[in-house]
């Protein structure tokens, strides 16, 4: 029990340190700088965001049942609704409900 507590406290502290350090990295390099940021940093920041979101989409498919048709049906519905209605909450809720229904129907 005692050893357990010490071990878990160490793991929680380690996880906190590494995750926070990763997120803080750009701020450590460029945060202290006075005056405007170098133009390439601004450009990189703007350019990197659609790339990251695109990567997150691919990566998120690993977290759902990507070997079945369900996530692709639900994803098509989500994107289609978003193009048509431009209502994020509607697209997301409809897509999620479609996915939850589809996996229960074993699609």
């Amino acid at each position: 029990m005692e050893a357990d507590t010490t071990y878990m406290a160490g793991i929680v502290a380690t996880g906190f340190a590494v995750n926070f350090a990763l997120r803080a990295l750009p701020f450590l390099f460029f945060g202290a700088r006075r005056g405007p940021l170098p133009p390439w940093v601004e450009k990189f920041g703007a350019f990197v965001s659609p790339m990251i979101i695109g990567g997150l989409i691919v990566y998120s498919f690993a977290g759902v049942q990507w070997r079945t048709a369900s996530p692709y049906i639900a994803a098509t519905l989500t994107v289609g609704l978003q193009i048509w209605q431009r209502n994020p909450l509607l697209s997301i809720i409809a897509g999620t409900l479609a996915y939850m229904a589809a996996i229960r129907l074993n699609w």
């Binding site: 502290a13 906190f16 340190a17 926070f20 997120r23 750009p26 998120s60 999620t96 996915y99």
Partner: protein, 199 residues
């Protein structure tokens, strides 16, 4: 822009995350308590969700915690799995330039996939208003994640004998799609912007 309007915008934008984080957090909490081989799982679930705010490690790390992986190996694994976080700040450098130290630390802590995506996609141009939006959004999403993980761990630890956690998990099964849907919606809007500006 009025504070209340910003709060309403953040609350509305956080609703998909509410579905995703509570469902995914619940799974992570159940996993930690059921498979983590730790005493006081709710406490560790609460602390790790509050301080890490990362679904990837809260779920993928559990089998390694159960085997008592060394802190050094756990650090290396986190580094490898979550390296993407090192890029998120680049989009925020300019917008968070004049934020006080502790406030900025909290915003940095909350640079999760979903929070980052929403903060970048927000149409708010005014820097002060955007900062308020980021802060409220972070507090909301943080609380959803902590609540999900802690509830999952408590459910297994205390109610495990009365309620089958697998039954609860089976009801919410599939809700994790909300995260993928959120990214799809933001990506769709980003592509639309590119076409509109013709670049």
């Amino acid at each position: 822009m009025h504070g209340f309007r910003i709060f309403r915008m953040a609350l509305r934008d956080s609703l998909p995350v509410l579905m995703g984080y509570t469902a995914m957090g619940f799974v992570a909490g159940v996993l930690l308590a059921a498979k983590g081989n730790v005493t006081l799982a709710p406490l560790w679930g609460f602390l790790s969700s509050a301080l890490w705010v990362t679904g990837t490690m809260s779920i993928a790390g559990v089998p390694y915690i159960a085997e008592r992986i060394s802190a050094g190996a756990f650090a290396l694994m986190t580094l490898a799995v979550n390296f993407r976080y090192a890029f998120y700040g680049f989009s925020m450098l300019g917008r968070w330039k004049n934020v006080s130290f502790l406030h900025k630390c909290y915003l940095i802590l909350m640079l999760t996939d979903e929070n980052y995506a929403l903060e970048v996609a927000s149409p708010i141009k005014d820097q002060k208003a955007h900062l308020k939006y980021c802060t409220v959004l972070s507090l909301l999403n943080h609380s959803y994640w902590i609540a999900g993980v802690t509830a999952g761990a408590i459910t297994v630890s205390l109610l495990g004998m009365m309620v089958d956690p697998d039954a609860i998990r089976s009801w919410t099964n599939g809700m994790e799609f909300a995260m993928l849907a959120l990214f799809l919606v933001i990506f769709t809007d980003q592509i639309r912007e590119v076409f509109r500006h013709g670049s």
